[in-house]
């Protein structure tokens, strides 16, 4: 969706500044309070409806997760985890999975196609599929395993945080539909403030480790969770405890990119200057005559 074209802070595979005439925008965030989620999947339905997506009807494999995983047609899925944090006390943790909209997006860092991935000034990370070349590097870069390549068109898709709705002052579709108020949307500051109140409430109710999930390893995220067990995010269908862009991706897209390009250029120039200083290696005429 190419709506907020003047509000771009970062653009994939681009070495010059992005359009930023409008300057700073309010950072937005979606807050998902897992303690309030009842697993109704209305958010999945709203996402399908607003974005006009229809995943294939799958098969029941004996768990509530449906569809089983994110796809190019399912940009958000509820992941159900049955855990016993205290022995004998079963808890059903339901996490709405999808793009976290990292402040330091690994997908954008890895993408080789100019403008296929953009980060808006409000914090939303969006894929512009018309520029996508289908190489899958975004999958390599993402610390949360979110982007999916369509089998139909070989383009990468993921949650847009309803950038088209947000651009015109609406909340994302999943936020609008949520019947329990587990998903709320607003400025990131307001959402952090709201989360603090929720965490206080959870602590009073015995969840002493309740915490906000806004991982600093990726610069914070624009989709945040309130976790009852904030010290063990892995309980929630393997939500990473300290996500960060893989050092291999950092190496590949960081220092090696300019250094190796420079090395190739240097080799060409070294050859040219060797030729004009040392000169060609010739077999002398008298040698030619002798043979």
């Amino acid at each position: 969706m190419a709506l907020q074209s003047l509000d771009i802070t970062a653009r994939s595979a681009t070495t010059t500044p992005s359009p930023s005439a409008r300057g700073e925008a309010v950072k937005v965030a979606k807050l998902i309070d897992i303690s309030k989620c009842i697993g109704c999947k209305a958010c999945q339905v709203a996402c399908m409806q607003w974005n006009d997506l229809r995943d294939e009807v799958g098969t029941n494999v004996g768990v509530y997760d449906n569809p089983r995983d994110l796809t190019d047609q399912s940009w958000t899925v509820m992941r159900f985890s049955e855990v016993e944090v205290e022995a004998g006390r079963l808890e059903w943790l339901i996490r709405k999975d999808g793009c976290m909209h990292c402040a330091d997006p690994g997908c954008l860092k890895a993408c080789p196609a100019p403008g296929a991935i953009v980060q808006y000034a409000n914090g939303i990370v969006d894929f512009h599929e018309e520029n996508c070349i289908g190489c899958g590097y975004c999958i390599t870069g993402c610390p949360f395993n979110i982007p999916r390549i369509s089998k139909k068109d070989n383009k990468a898709y993921k949650c847009t945080l309803c950038s088209d709705r947000v651009a015109v002052g609406l909340e994302p579709a999943c936020v609008k539909i949520c019947p329990t108020g587990a998903i709320v949307f607003g400025s990131k500051d307001d959402m952090i403030h709201h989360a603090e109140g929720r965490i206080e409430d959870l602590k009073e109710r015995g969840y002493s480790k309740a915490a906000l999930y806004d991982p600093p390893g990726v610069g914070g995220t624009h989709v945040m969770y309130v976790l009852q067990h904030g010290d063990q995010p892995e309980l929630y269908a393997n939500l990473p405890k300290d996500p960060h862009i893989s050092p291999l991706v950092g190496l590949w897209k960081g220092i090696t990119k300019p250094l190796m390009s420079f090395g190739v250029g240097l080799a060409v120039f070294a050859g040219f200057f060797h030729y004009v200083t040392a000169g060609p290696k010739k077999v002398e005429d008298e040698e030619e005559a002798k043979s």
Binding site: A13, T14, T15, P112, A113, P114, N131, I133, G134, C135, G136, Y137, I139, T140, N145, I149, K151, N154, S246, L248, V249, L251, W252, T256, K257, P258, M260, S261, G263, V264, A267, V268, G271, H274, Y275, A278, G279, P280, K281, K282, V283, E287, E288, K290, S291
Partner: protein
């Protein structure tokens, strides 16, 4: 009229040039996806998506033809004591003080080094390339392996590109060399000067 010595058969030359053309196409399309500064090269291949589609097929072609060539030339590329001596006198080589250099067979140590760089880097490129090949193979590998493969692919390609730059330059620099790969023959004087042991073997002198 100088005597000519056959260095490469028509078959060997064709094989070399298939590898060379595939290399140029693979390197240009690979660089295009490596750094934004080279992204404009995707226009040569019909756009970004076509570049992504074509690059791996070009790579496989290069791998197959290089392996055929490697099988032909394997025996000529074993490192010998003379090669070590030649490497120690690389300064003399670069400054064209050829009278200080040892007698060599069909190839010098620089040529052999490129051969072994290719023998190592091409299989690495093939294997890591299969791991990241969208949409055919990449989805069946774990993300950790994909991340390792992209780094190996970039490093191996870089080493190979540097090697080929030196290879091409050396062919331009050492006069009388290019005709070995275009016409298949070199002058006897060239052979005697640069590869004396091979010259003796070929002429019996």
């Amino acid at each position: 009229m100088n005597a000519l010595i056959q260095r490469y058969t028509a078959r060997e030359r064709s094989n070399h040039w298939v590898v060379a053309i595939a290399f140029v196409l693979a390197a240009l399309s690979g660089l295009a996806l490596f750094h934004p500064a080279f992204f404009f090269l995707t226009h040569l291949f019909g756009g970004g998506t076509w570049t992504r589609i074509l690059h791996p097929f070009i790579g496989v072609l290069m791998f197959l033809f290089f392996m055929a060539m490697a099988a032909r030339f394997w025996g000529f590329n074993r490192i010998t004591p003379a090669d070590r001596q030649w490497m120690k006198r690389i300064g003399d080589v670069l400054c064209n003080r050829d009278q200080n250099l040892p007698e060599l067979g069909k190839y010098n140590a620089g040529q052999k080094l490129l051969f072994w760089v290719m023998v190592v880097s091409l299989p690495l490129l093939l294997l890591s390339g299969i791991v990241i090949w969208q949409p055919w193979f990449a989805p069946s590998f774990p993300i950790g392996l994909l991340r390792l493969a992209v780094v190996i692919h970039a490093l191996a390609a870089w080493v190979m590109i540097l090697g080929i730059i030196v290879h091409v330059y050396a062919a331009i620099w050492v006069k009388g060399t290019i005709r070995a790969m275009t016409r298949g023959t070199v002058s006897a004087a060239w052979a005697k000067h640069h590869h004396r042991a091979w010259y003796r073997e070929m002429t019996g002198k």
